[in-house]
């Protein structure tokens, strides 16, 4: 069941990066499970004297969806912002297949879509925008956009400006903008929490389909445990500050998962296990 154990001692990568002096340190940096995409080592972040992360280690598997769940203010956003390169950190190292974040294609979906889309561009130009940083021909770019629109089965008028669309449609634009570059890693910070339930179900469904199709390594922050479990290959539970990994719970129900999935025994087991750990952490 548990596909991924915490830093199994045996698994070592041949060309582990880092130039740490102590042998033990070296091993820590080298050791990560097979199929790991993102390695976080010794991550440290302080805010005005208070330490949020102190020597935090984490491995994110390639092509999987990891849901990040934890108490309010425990640093979920801070974590994915540091990994995605939006927020600087005080110490530590984050590598994507041994590469720096700047050498990695990244997609990021903000919770607050209103302040993430560009209102001066039409919806379609918002979606196309990040393509200009890739060296693609016009035809290639168009093909990518068309394929993406087809995957999402978009029925909105993309010649409109974002402020002429509903909230859910704006978030859809922002999700497509993140995916159009065919990112190696996708980050989503509570992407559906400002949307109504119907729209949330619809977007979750589409997003899941596309992510599984494309095998994108995904970090999803969610405050909705049902959502976190339903979408996840693995639920990453965090503690209160100073933040550590409380537990990682694998969930490998077949996809596509639907509302029916949430009624299965397996789902309920993973959810209650997560909830139990979460409550234990909150009460600490």
């Amino acid at each position: 069941m548990a596909r991924l154990k915490l830093l199994p001692g045996g698994a070592t990568a041949p060309d582990a990066p880092g130039t740490v002096t102590a042998e033990a340190e070296k091993d820590r940096f080298r050791a990560f499970p097979k199929g790991t995409h993102i390695t976080v080592r010794g991550l440290t972040k302080r805010f005005e004297g208070s330490t949020l992360y102190d020597g935090f280690d984490l491995d994110i598997p390639k092509g999987k969806i990891v849901s990040v769940f934890g108490p309010n203010g425990c640093g979920k956003s801070t974590l994915i912002n540091m990994i995605s390169g939006i927020l600087p950190y005080d110490a530590g190292e984050i590598l994507f297949d041994g590469k720096d974040v700047r050498e990695t294609r990244i997609g990021y979906v903000f919770q607050n879509y209103r302040e993430a889309v560009f209102p001066w561009l039409k919806a379609i130009d918002n979606i196309r925008y990040p393509l200009k940083f890739l060296k693609l021909s016009r035809a290639e770019a168009d093909a990518r956009v068309d394929a993406l629109l087809a995957s999402f089965d978009v029925k909105i008028d993309l010649a409109r400006y974002p402020y002429q669309l509903s909230g859910g449609q704006q978030q859809l634009v922002s999700i497509m903008r993140a995916l159009v570059v065919e990112p190696e890693v996708l980050f989503l910070d509570e992407p559906f929490s400002a949307l109504d339930y119907e729209m949330t179900l619809f977007l979750r469904d589409r997003l899941q389909k596309v992510l599984v199709e494309r095998k994108v390594t995904t970090l999803l922050v969610s405050h909705d445990l049902d959502e976190a479990v339903e979408l996840a290959d693995e639920v990453l539970l965090l503690t209160k500050k100073p933040t550590r990994v409380a537990a990682r719970i694998a969930y490998d129900a077949p996809r596509p998962r639907t509302a029916d999935t949430t009624l299965t025994e397996d789902f309920i087991r993973v959810k209650s296990e997560s909830l139990e750990i979460f409550l234990r952490e909150v009460r600490k």
Binding site: Y108, W120, F133
Partner: protein, 258 residues
């Protein structure tokens, strides 16, 4: 459209005319009852006919045009100088902090106080008028552009950065757009400052044309209808410029307030 809402809309459109009617009524009353010496206050009709004949047969239009050209030239110079500097200042907190006080000081200095200095530098002529007006307008524009750039919301910049935009690209693709509403505030303020300074300059520094000079001349020969006509022309110009910028803003910052 139902007749009720149609009538209401018509009523709303006519509302601003109430103030105009009130003013003209008061003016006519003061004129008819000789509350004010009729030499100083001609009837509205006399003033209007002076304005109209000045435009159609007289040379009011010539002065009108000269003032428009001077204002436009000052504004253009101000924009060319102030926008790039404002963007640079706004995008570097350090530079901004170090010269904020200096800019603020000059911005608070009445531009008309600079006339003597500019006269020494540029001599009595066209260049001084335009230079002072450009100076006054540039400070207002500069300040607003810098402010707009500095206070641009961070999230869209982060969004562009995470998509791979370089700092320069973030500036061009996001920050400048975000600062546009504030830039328009600066442009509106700037153009009205330029107009004020141009008119004052035309009045007092050896001008032979322009609305300011026309107002002064009419006053000196006590041609009151002519003076009111020129004042009205200056007012109309100021209003039209303001309207022009509001319309331009609505066109270019179509997402504003949404």
């Amino acid at each position: 459209m139902s007749p009720v809402s149609g009538r209401r809309r018509l009523g709303r459109a006519l509302q601003p005319l109430i103030g105009v009617a009130l003013l003209i009524g008061l003016w006519s009353f003061a004129h008819a009852t000789r509350l004010v010496d009729p030499v100083l206050l001609p009837s509205p009709l006399e003033a209007w006919s002076a304005f109209w004949s000045g435009l159609t047969t007289g040379n009011l239009w010539v002065d009108f045009r000269v003032t428009i050209i001077r204002t436009a030239a000052s504004f253009a110079i101000a924009m060319v100088l102030a926008v790039p500097i404002g963007i640079v200042l706004g995008s570097s907190e350090k530079i901004y902090r170090s010269i904020e006080f200096t800019i603020d000081f000059f911005r608070s200095t009445p531009a008309s106080a600079m006339f003597p200095l500019f006269l020494v530098m540029f001599g009595v002529g066209e260049r001084t008028k335009i230079a002072v007006a450009a100076f006054g307008a540039a400070l207002a524009i500069l300040f607003n552009v810098a402010y707009g750039v500095m206070n641009a919301r961070k999230q869209r910049q982060l969004a562009a950065k995470v998509m791979g935009a370089s700092p320069l690209r973030v500036l061009a693709d996001v920050t400048i757009w975000e600062s546009l509403p504030q830039t328009f505030v600066g442009m509106r303020t700037g153009v009205s400052i330029a107009l004020v300074i141009v008119i004052v300059a035309e009045m007092f520094i050896g001008s032979t044309d322009g609305l300011g000079q026309r107002i002064m001349n009419a006053q000196m020969i006590f041609d009151m209808p002519q003076m009111y006509a020129a004042i009205f022309a200056a007012g109309a110009l100021g209003y039209a410029l303001n309207l022009l910028f509001i319309l331009a803003e609505r066109r270019f910052v179509h997402w504003g307030g949404k």
